[in-house]
């Protein structure tokens, strides 16, 4: 039983990263109509940013949790303003090629300087150790990642679905021309939205640094699964991507316990099944 709970926890942790990343992808796709293949690279940059902050500037985990997403978010907004913006109205393929190219360049640069092995990032002192829950041992940091990710996901959902700002965003996703004709600066909103999505990826990167080490290809490995999660959940659905992210992490964890051989493929098998039955994804609207 101990092993089952341990795998469930691993599943929840992975699910947290899936949820944070697919949430950003969904927000970006809704607003920019771009499938952001650079998302994994930006997640990695978040982790590296935390690493640099600690080792160069001596800035620890807690400030990094805020500073890294802002810095990487600004990098993302520069990408949007200088490059992605020019793709408005073009076929999805262009956005895919551009963001994939950006991902390869960014990962290549980091690999050039840091190789492929992982750099250590220590768990902050306050979150070391663990609690014995009776039925299992819970490392505090892992519990923190799950809870904090869930809070961030729900806060993002609230921001988009329940606030005035979110209403502007949803309206601009539906009909940007009309929203602009009401006096709202839609191009600026698009840039900020991309920054928000990228910031969420970077935040996931910081959270992951103490667990998975900091590696140039940490995002490339993860992003493939995250895209499957997004396909299953339905492109463009906020709550859908959060729920699917966490559930698929758990399903993956359970598979590791019951049938370990399938643990790497279960997400893709599910993706195939969902596509056969509901091509728009579980919560997606048909285009």
């Amino acid at each position: 039983m101990q092993a089952l709970y341990a795998q469930l926890l691993v599943g929840l942790i992975n699910g947290s990263f899936y949820a944070l990343l697919s949430l950003g992808l969904a927000v970006i796709f809704g607003m920019l109509n771009i499938i952001n293949f650079a998302h994994g690279a930006l997640y990695m940059m978040g982790a590296f940013c935390a690493y640099f902050l600690l080792n160069i500037a001596g800035i620890g985990y807690w400030p990094a949790l805020i500073i890294a997403p802002i810095l990487v978010g600004i990098f993302g907004m520069i990408l949007e303003r200088t490059m992605l913006q020019r793709l408005a109205g073009l076929d999805h393929l262009y956005g895919l090629l551009l963001t994939f190219g950006i991902a390869l360049i960014v990962q290549g640069v980091f690999q050039n300087y840091f190789g492929s092995s992982g750099l250590p990032y220590a768990i902050p002192e306050e979150l070391r150790g663990g609690i014995n829950l009776g039925f299992m041992f819970l490392p505090i940091y892992r519990g923190w990642v799950v809870v904090f990710s869930l809070v961030v996901c729900l806060a993002t959902w609230y921001l988009i679905e329940k606030t005035r700002l979110g209403a502007n965003l949803r309206a601009a996703t539906e009909n940007p021309t009309l929203v602009r004709a009401f006096g709202i600066n839609v191009p600026r909103m698009i840039t900020l939205t991309y920054g928000l999505g990228v910031g969420l990826a970077a935040l996931a990167g910081v959270l992951s640094a103490p667990i998975n080490q900091v590696r140039p290809l940490m995002g490339a490995d993860l992003i493939i699964v995250v895209f499957a999660v997004v396909v299953i959940g339905g492109m463009g659905s906020i709550l859908g991507s959060i729920i699917t992210g966490f559930s698929l992490g758990v399903i993956e964890g359970l598979t590791k316990y019951f049938y370990p051989e399938a643990s790497n493929t279960v997400v893709f098998v599910l993706m195939v099944l969902v596509l056969l039955v509901k091509p728009a994804g579980l919560t997606g609207r048909a285009a």
Binding site: R164, A167, N168, R170, A171, T173, E174, N175, T177, L178, V179, R180, A181, F182, G183, I184, N185, V186
Partner: protein, 247 residues
Amino acid sequence: MADRKMAEAAASSAGAQVLSVSNLQAWYGESHILHGIDFNVKAGEVVTLLGRNGAGKTTTLKSVMGIIEKRTGSIRFNDTDITRASSDKIARMGVAFCPEERGIFASLDVRENLLLPPIVRPGGLSLDQIFTLFPNLKERLDSQGTKLSGGEQQMLAIARILRTGARFLMLDEPTEGLAPVIIQQIGQTIARLKSEGFTILLVEQNFRFASTVADRYYIVEHGKVIDGFANSELSANMDKLHTYLGV
């Protein structure tokens, strides 16, 4: 053309020029839609653009609003040149647009739809005033925007731009596809807005409706303004009008 001079003379009794458009040309991609539109709207007037389907009336409104990117000529709003301005900037100067397809957002509820356009200047209608004008909306605040009836959606589309404080409204076929009783209600609303000093540029196919609210008319054909007259000259121009509109 003599008629048009008379119309403009008749209009000179009204206030200062709010909108003046001259030699406006516009393109949708490669297709040249407007070939030189000239007209003006003075403060407090209701001016109606009449014309057949595809004559360029909607394109004219969208060009003034800055939605049609490719446009040349001159568009002046309250003596400011807005020919090259972006549509968000034009909106913030006090131009409000109610599109033909109404543009109610499906992912927003009625309240969010109503509050979506930002306040661009003080003096807009308060929510209470809006609910006095359109009592239906108050009961449906929590409904999804597109779940409203066609008439309610049209009222919502007008209501949301009255909040913003814009004093110049462009309404594109507000009566299209609506029941007579709703058309009447919209007519009363326009008359009331006019009495409160709003300036309105209306596009209409429904000439009978337009004649109940308009001060002046311009006839648009093949992307040009070919005629214009005041409401007082309407009966004298009836025959011509029938030819223009093919009714």
